[in-house]
Each structure stands twice: as C-alpha cells, then as structure tokens.
C-alpha cells in the first residue's frame, strides 16, 4: 500500500486499490513459483519464445507474471494475454533442471483467469462455441454429415482459395482447414476377446475427436490390444475426459467430465484404462490432483489415475506376442507434447516401431518443440500455430520419410495442414495403425495409400 493509500485509509476515505490477480481458491502455489531459479534453460524449449524471443512469452517470464500476481498486482489484459499465449506443451517441464512444476502453475493460473478475468465478447463467444462442441462426441457427429458433403463437392478447397473465411473469422477458418477427410465410421463392440491366452483386461477410452474424426485409430487400437492378448472393454456410456477443459482453465466443467469418466470405467472390471490420445492420457493421469478436494471422488480418482496407460506404454509393458510382418517403409516419429513432455513417454512408441521388420525410423530435428496444435490453440491463435506448424512441417519433410507417425489426433491434423501448405504430401498414421498393419500383414500401401493430407 502506498503512503497516500494508507493516509486515505486512516482518514476513512474509500480508496481504489487494484484487485489482486488471484483469489484464495487454488492460486498458483507460491512455493512452486519460488522453485524457479531464473536460469533460463526453459527458453529454447518454449514455442512462443522460439517465435518471438520475448521474456514475457517464455515460461520464466510467465512465472514472473504469476509472482507479480501473488504479490498483489492486478490481472491485467497484457498479463492474461501472455498466459493465454502459452501452448501448454510442457516442453519447459522437461527442460527445467530445477524441477519447476510449470504444468501445475499454468493450470491453476488458467483456472483463476477463467474465473476472474473479463474476456472480450468475441473471445468469450469463440471459447463458448468451442466448448459447446469439442467435448461432445454426439455434437461432433452431427457436424460430420455437413462437413462430409462439403468436402465431397470440393467446397472447402474453393473456400480456402478465396480466403473468404480467413477474412470473416480467422478462427473458424482454422477449424475448417483442420477438419480431416472423413472415412466411414466403424462401430466398436463393447467387449472384444483376447486372441490366444488372455494376459490382461483393459478398458479403452474412445475420446471425442478421436472417435468422431479418426475412428480407424480406435478400431486399430482394439485389434492390436486383442492380438497382444488383451480383453478389450469399451464402455458405451463414456464421454469426454475433460482434457481440453483442464488445459483451458474451465475447472468446474473439467471436474464434471472427470467424475463421469471415473463412473463409466469403475465397474467395467478392467486392470488398465488404455488411451490412444496423448492429451487425454496426460489429464487422466492427473485426476488424483484434479479431484483431490472432492470427498466423494478423491480416493476413487487416485485408483483410476494409477490404472491409466498410454497404449504404447501398455504394449511395451506386456511385451509383444503377436507376429510382426514386414513393413518396408521409412517413418518419422513425431513426439506429441502431452505424451513426451507431460507423460514422459518417448522410448515406448519408438521401441514398438523399431520392432516392426523393415520399418526404418527417422528422427525429426528439434523434436521438443510443439507443432502448434496444442488442443484448441490453433483455433484460438491461428497465426502462431501456423508458424509453428510450418517449422514442424519443414523438419518433418527434411527427414525424407514416407510416413509420419504420431499419437495424437491434434498433431496429425496440424502437421497434415502444414505439410499441405508447404505444397508437399506425406502419409500420416497413428502408432497403433502402423502396428496394426504389421500384425495384420497388410501392405505398406494400406498406410500410404489413403492417408495423405490432400
């Protein structure tokens, strides 16, 4: 408090002190903020620092901003802008030698921002629209028909060429451009029996975008798990895991989704809950933290979270039994941020791919830098997302690989769009689709034939 303010307070006058950035309910932890020694090792791993070279758009700078907030500074538009600009890729968490838990810090900060900051009407409307759509598979499905018709008549290409959408609403244009070619949906049975001796009973998350836009990935996951000796249970009544909501500070919504998902799997009698989308898996592994204050769910959340495995983790843990047939192809593996940085899963997908005879794995330069997809980031911030996508596409193409493999639907769409913008093509597949092709003995063409980006 300034001297003037103190004097005003003493004389009983009303004074206007700025509202502090954070309130008492789960502010970013001062102790975690204090862990940062300001060494700067996070800077080169941060996509926004790579793009802009500015301290306030780096993890270290954002932690400084949180510190300011904890010291009572108000939550200004500029502060919120720098928090919003964070992709949440968590590459800084990997890079930090001091073990700063930036993931926890930005999550709690974002929840405060959503509760306390007044967004512009336009921003609010866009975020509202996104969250009224993406976490709801049924609504996404309703959108499929119109999108499919749209793509068939070539309308999307025409629109892209005119750039009309870009002018009206860059964000809608971004969504439209990322919409993948739609194939025929495959229905998954609620229970698929293990082939040969049963080694485990696993539940599978079908996801939202994965289920509606990449159903082939879910089908491949079931086949591969069954081939490796798993009974696969796919609870029919399962919704969104809440990852998008968590990553964007929509805490009450995230908690609702998390509780519902725990309910869906709790009585399914599964030893593991397997996930094939990086962003979902990382959030589900954090349920214990998310629900720690909920007396009805805290204990159940711990039990659930310990069962969660990325599909590549469980496959490596179990070890291969199904025969791998040769797939003579060069493949570049792209680390999804929420798999590599958030879950520390890097070796497993590579081990699985290296286990396929004939497959030659190539590494992509600057693997730690996000492709710009980052959940809904490319919808909210199309420009930096596009720049990051272009950088990633250049590095991917430089490998000369025929196939790009990754484990997240967002990354697949983002890299596909970027490769297309570069005027190139590359076949795309999820790790389990490649494994599936090898186990089923399908030819290389089954991966390279239909899955290109244009």
């Amino acid at each position: 408090m300034t001297t003037d303010a103190l004097a005003a307070a003493a004389s009983g006058q009303s004074i206007d002190l700025p509202t502090p950035a954070f309130d008492e309910y789960r502010p970013p932890s001062a102790a975690l903020v204090g862990d940062c020694v300001h060494c700067g090792f996070c800077l080169p791993s941060c996509p926004t620092y790579v793009l802009w070279g500015e301290e306030m758009d780096s993890p270290r700078g954002r932690i400084d901003l949180m510190k300011q907030g904890l010291e009572g500074d108000p939550l200004t538009d500029s502060m919120v802008g720098h928090f919003d600009a964070c992709l949440g890729c968590m590459a800084c968490v990997t890079a930090c030698p001091s073990g700063v838990q930036y993931d926890r810090l930005i999550e709690t900060t974002r929840a405060q921002v959503e509760r306390r900051h007044q967004r512009t009407r336009r921003d609010k409307a866009l975020r509202g629209a996104i969250f009224a759509l993406f976490p709801y598979p049924r609504r996404l499905r309703a959108l499929r028909g119109p999108l499919r018709g749209w793509q068939r008549i070539g309308g999307d290409r025409l629109l892209r060429r005119t750039g009309l959408l870009e002018r009206i609403a860059p964000s809608l244009a971004a969504m439209e451009r990322l919409a993948p070619r739609l194939g025929k949906a495959e229905r998954l049975p609620e229970r698929t029996a293990a082939i040969g001796t049963r080694r485990a009973t696993v539940g599978m998350l079908t996801g939202c975008v994965q289920r509606e836009f990449f159903p082939a990935v879910n089908a491949a996951t079931v086949r591969v798990l069954a081939a490796e000796g798993c009974d696969v249970v796919v609870p029919a009544k399962q919704g969104c895991c809440g990852a998008l909501s968590v990553h964007n500070g929509r805490e009450p919504e995230a908690l609702r989704f998390a509780r519902a998902l725990i309910d869906s799997f709790e009585n399914a009698g599964v030893e593991w809950v397997v996930v094939n989308a990086a962003g979902c898996g990382s959030t589900m592994k954090e349920y214990a933290e998310l629900l720690r204050d909920d007396p009805a769910y805290a204990v159940r959340a711990v039990a659930f979270a310990t069962k969660v495995r990325d599909v590549s983790e469980i496959l490596v843990e179990l070890g291969p039994v199904a025969t791998r047939h040769p797939l003579p192809i060069t493949a570049a593996y792209h680390d999804a941020c929420h798999l590599a940085h958030a879950q520390g899963v890097r070796a497993q997908p590579r081990a699985l791919l290296n286990g396929i005879p004939g497959l030659q794995l190539r590494e992509i330069a600057d693997p730690a830098i996000c492709c710009g997809s980052a959940g809904i980031y490319n919808v909210l911030f199309p420009e930096p997302a596009r720049e990051l996508g272009d950088r990633k596409a250049a590095n991917v193409l430089a490998t000369g690989a025929e196939l790009l493999v990754t484990a997240n639907p967002g990354c697949l769409m983002q890299v596909a769009a970027s490769v297309e913008r570069a005027g190139e093509t590359i076949a795309l597949a999820h790790t389990v689709e490649v494994l599936d092709a090898s186990i089923q003995g399908r030819p290389v063409a089954s991966l390279t034939g239909g899955g290109t980006s244009s």
């Binding site: 300001h38 700067g40 090792f41 270290r60 400084d64 030698p97 001091s98």
Partner: protein, 514 residues
C-alpha cells in the same frame, strides 16, 4: 521464497551509492520521459515495452536476487534500433543496459530504474557461415549452441561452451568473455571472436577487428570483449569456427575423495596431456545432478572427474591409455567410457545441469565463481570443507578442474533466520581463499553487480583507476551499463583518490553521478 544466487546482504551493502534504485533520475524523470517519447516516435510500437507487468519480467537476469524494473525496454530487431536508442539515450543522458538471454550469474544485465533496457534476444539471425574461412557472422541474440548447429554440417563447431550454451547468447558471451568446460584446451570467447559491429555509447556504429586475426592498431576488440556491457553493445559478431575433432573420447572416473580427483587432474596435466576438458564434481553436486537428470554417476563416489580427449584418433587413443592409468594410480575405483554420443551426452548432462540442479537439494543457493592455481586445488578444497564444517553451511563443488576455475555452490534456506547471512559470509570467505591462493574473484561469470565490492580486494586503486580511464574513453558520460564492475562511481576527468562531500561538478549541476 525464490531460490536464487545472492542474498539481501550483497544486494544492499555491496552496491553502495550507485544502487540504481536509490540514485539518479527515477523512471519518471523528464530525461526518461523524453527518451520514451522519442524512441516511440522512431521505432515500431511492438519494439518499445512500457507496460509495467511486461517490464517486470525483465527485472533480473540469471541472478534473481537483484531485481530492478527498467524504465522502459527496447526489443531491438536491428542495428538501427540499437543505434537509434543509444543515440537518444546519449543525447538525453539516460543510462542503458544491454541484455541477451538473461542467463548471467553476476547481475551484469540488471536494469536501471532510471534507464533503458536494450534487449538483444530478437536479433538472432546467423548472417553467414563460411566454413572454408572458418568464420561465421552472427547477431548477438543467437544462442551459443545454434552457432555449432549451423556449422556442424560443414564439419565445424563453435568452441566456447559455457554450461548454459543451450540458451546463453553470443552477445552475452562477448560481454562476459565466457569460457566453458572446453576452454582448458581451446580458450575463452576472446580466442574465438575476430570482429564485431559495435554501437558505441554515443550511438555511432563502428567495426572492431575484422575477419582476419590480429587487426593492426590498438586491440579495441580485445578491450570490448569481457567489458560486461560497459563500453557499448555488439550488434554482430564474427566468430572463428573450429574443425570438429576427428575423434572424441569422454570418460567418467569415480574417486573416493576430491583430494584424489585433484591429484589425478594434476597428474594428467603434468604428463603433458591437454584434455579438451577436465571437470570435477563433489559428492553433494553429484547428489543434485542425480536428482535432476538421473545421470547415473558411480555410486559412493566422493568426487567424479569428467575427462574429454579430442583430436586425431591415434593421439587420443594413446592419451586415453595414460589418462586411465593416471586415474587408477590416483585412486579411481570406477572408470567409464562413453561409447557413443548418447552416452557422452548423459555424462555431460550431469555436469552441465549441476547449477540449476542444486535447486533440487536446497531451497536457496549461491553460485560462487573463483579461480585458483590448479596445484592449490587440494589445499583450497580442504579449506572450503573446513569453512563448511565449522559453519554448518553446506557447500557443493562443481568446477573446471583443469584450469582451477571453482564453482562452489553455497546452500541455504532463506526462510530460516540467519542462514542467508551465514551463506553469504562463507561465499565471501571462499573468494578470500581464492585471492590468498593467488587466484581471482571470477573465472567466467563476471563481476557485474554481484562482485564489484570485491574488486578492491584484488586490485589497487591505481589498477582500478586505469580501468576507469579506458571506460571514460569509450563512455565519457557513464551511461553504458553504469554501476557494474566498479565499486565506486567516478566521473570522467576526475582526479583519482578520496574526495570529501559532493563533487564540485555535480554540485554546480554540470555533471551527475549515476
């Protein structure tokens, strides 16, 4: 409490009358307002930062205990941006401070509340890589490691490799004359920079040195390198590229104690071998590195040595045999050889992350930097251990053993009453040990804000006055990073020696003490 590398004691007592928070015009002085208005007129809006929250993210570098919010920041995109800003600062007599990646450990890029922070991190183009000439021309914001990445395809690399090489910038390296693990064999930044485009403190742009080695005339480039931003700002740097060695062998040797590892170091160098690097870590530093990066160093080691040999394969093989024998003769119980780049990277990762990794085993710590003659290693280390034991302040040791550059890490918990002061005292005593042993108060982190008070312990008044005269020749108005390196401010043209009361020039309003 933020864990950091300094304590209140140094922040307050050391800086003296030149403490930026307390002297000179404030952020709202007419001069500063004039600078703000003029740069906003001439530079693009996004280049000039005036928003308080944004400015506060620039209030410190890698030495987080000193924090000063600059009056404004200019995120330079070109030499013109820098020259324009500096010229305006010179005309308005407002101090400026250049900042690269903000990883410095002596507060060299600490802003001035009454001045402009010129941020160089956006000037990061590699303008030219000319492998056949063994030269590259890079902008100052280019990351050290990125020079090597750009040269690697041609079979070359940039030799100076400070531990922060993945993020520290070339401009900062020039300011601090940075070394690194491999400077034992390859030398410091000054041995690898042949020329610089340079903005002098009056805003003029000059060329220092060139592509050829040893330009005729006064070695102004040599003067500028290591001057910690007090003589001006480099806006492009011509660096020398070094041929990637034909063969590299990295070994990790575990010893029962630092005495044994120190003896092995002396034995290796005494045998006429010049390894690319010899690095030592003691038990506490190993514990921190293990916690941070799981580098899997030999269990139970009281000290490890990382020895890297490079050069023609035949030579390296022969030296390797000698190094192994000398290590074992001096008590090495584990001797591990990196077989490939992955294993080599793991060995180095433990060493290079050690500073920041100490954050895992202690809430707060001071990174000290001092130099001693290599032969004094065992004696000085024992003295440090005694200081530590008698004061119950833990000290972890990481250092470039080959050239006697110590980095003691003094651990403390600032939330415990008196611990910060105790740590500060030990940290200062370690520097005294270095001076007594005939060494120096800094090997590579620079003097900056942190160690200016120690300069008189190492140099006489006449020494310091001579340095000040060089500074005055470049910066007569004392606006280029003032308050750093030197313990007391001095007006150019002032007669050295003690003065009483206010300086006559300052009193008459002709000059100001910044």
């Amino acid at each position: 409490m933020s864990s950091t590398h300094g304590t209140t004691k140094t922040a307050g007592a050391v800086v003296g009358p030149s403490a930026p928070e307390r002297s000179g015009p404030t952020g709202d002085s007419p001069q500063v307002r004039a600078v703000r208005r003029r740069v906003q007129e001439l530079l693009p809006a996004k280049t000039v930062i005036t928003d308080h929250a944004r400015l506060r993210t620039y209030e410190c570098d890698g030495l987080a205990h000193y924090r000063v919010t600059p009056a404004l920041a200019v995120l330079a995109d070109s030499v013109d941006d820098v020259a324009t800003t500096v010229r305006i600062c010179a005309e308005e007599r407002v101090p400026f401070v250049a900042r690269g990646s903000g990883t410095g450990l002596s507060g060299g890029a600490l802003p001035r509340a009454d001045g402009v922070l010129i941020v160089m991190s956006r000037m990061r183009a590699i303008r030219e890589v000319s492998a056949e000439d063994q030269r590259a021309v890079v902008e100052p914001g280019v990351i050290n490691l990125d020079v090597t990445k750009a040269a690697a395809a041609h079979g070359y690399y940039y030799a100076p490799d400070p531990s922060s090489q993945q993020i520290c910038s070339i401009g900062g390296n020039v300011a601090e004359n940075s070394g690194g693990a491999h400077c034992l064999k390859y030398g410091f930044t000054s041995n690898h920079v042949t020329g610089a485009e340079f903005v002098a403190p009056d805003g003029s742009v000059v060329e220092l040195g060139g592509r050829a080695l040893d330009a005729p005339g006064y070695d102004l480039l040599g003067t500028v390198i290591g001057s910690e931003g007090t003589l001006g700002i480099a806006t492009a740097v011509t660096v020398r590229l070094t041929r990637t060695p034909e063969h590299v062998v990295t070994v990790l040797a575990g010893f029962p104690s630092t005495d044994d590892a120190g003896a092995a170091t002396s034995a290796i160098i005494g045998a006429g071998i010049v390894p690319a690097a010899i690095e030592m870590m003691d038990a506490l530093a190993i514990e921190a590195a293990e916690a941070a990066v799981h580098c899997n160093y030999p269990e139970g080691a009281g000290a490890v040595l990382v020895v890297e040999l490079d050069g023609p394969e035949v030579e390296v093989r022969q030296e390797f045999d000698q190094v192994e024998r000398l290590c074992r003769d001096n008590g090495a119980f584990a001797f591990r050889v990196a077989n490939d780049d992955v294993e080599r990277a793991l060995i180095w990762r433990g060493r290079k992350s050690a500073f920041a990794a100490v954050g895992r085993i202690s809430p707060d710590y001071i990174v000290q930097d001092g130099v001693i003659p290599r032969t004094s290693l065992p004696k000085v280390l024992r003295a440090i251990a005694e200081l530590s034991a008698s004061s119950a302040v833990r000290v972890a040791n990481v250092f470039h053993a080959g050239d006697g550059n110590l980095h003691p890490l003094v651990l403390f918990d600032d939330s415990e009453e008196g611990q910060g002061e105790a740590a500060e005292e030990i940290s200062g005593k370690i520097l005294d040990l270095c001076i007594e042993a005939g060494g120096s108060i800094t090997g590579e982190h620079g003097v900056g804000m942190d160690k200016s008070a120690y300069m008189p312990r190492m140099f006489s008044d006449a020494d310091l006055d001579t340095m000040q005269m060089v500074r005055c020749a470049f910066d007569p108005n004392n606006i280029s990073n003032p308050g750093k390196i030197f313990p007391t401010p001095r007006l150019c043209g002032e007669v050295p020696g003690r003065h009483k009361g206010e300086h006559p020039l300052a009193k008459s309003g002709i000059a100001e003490i910044f």
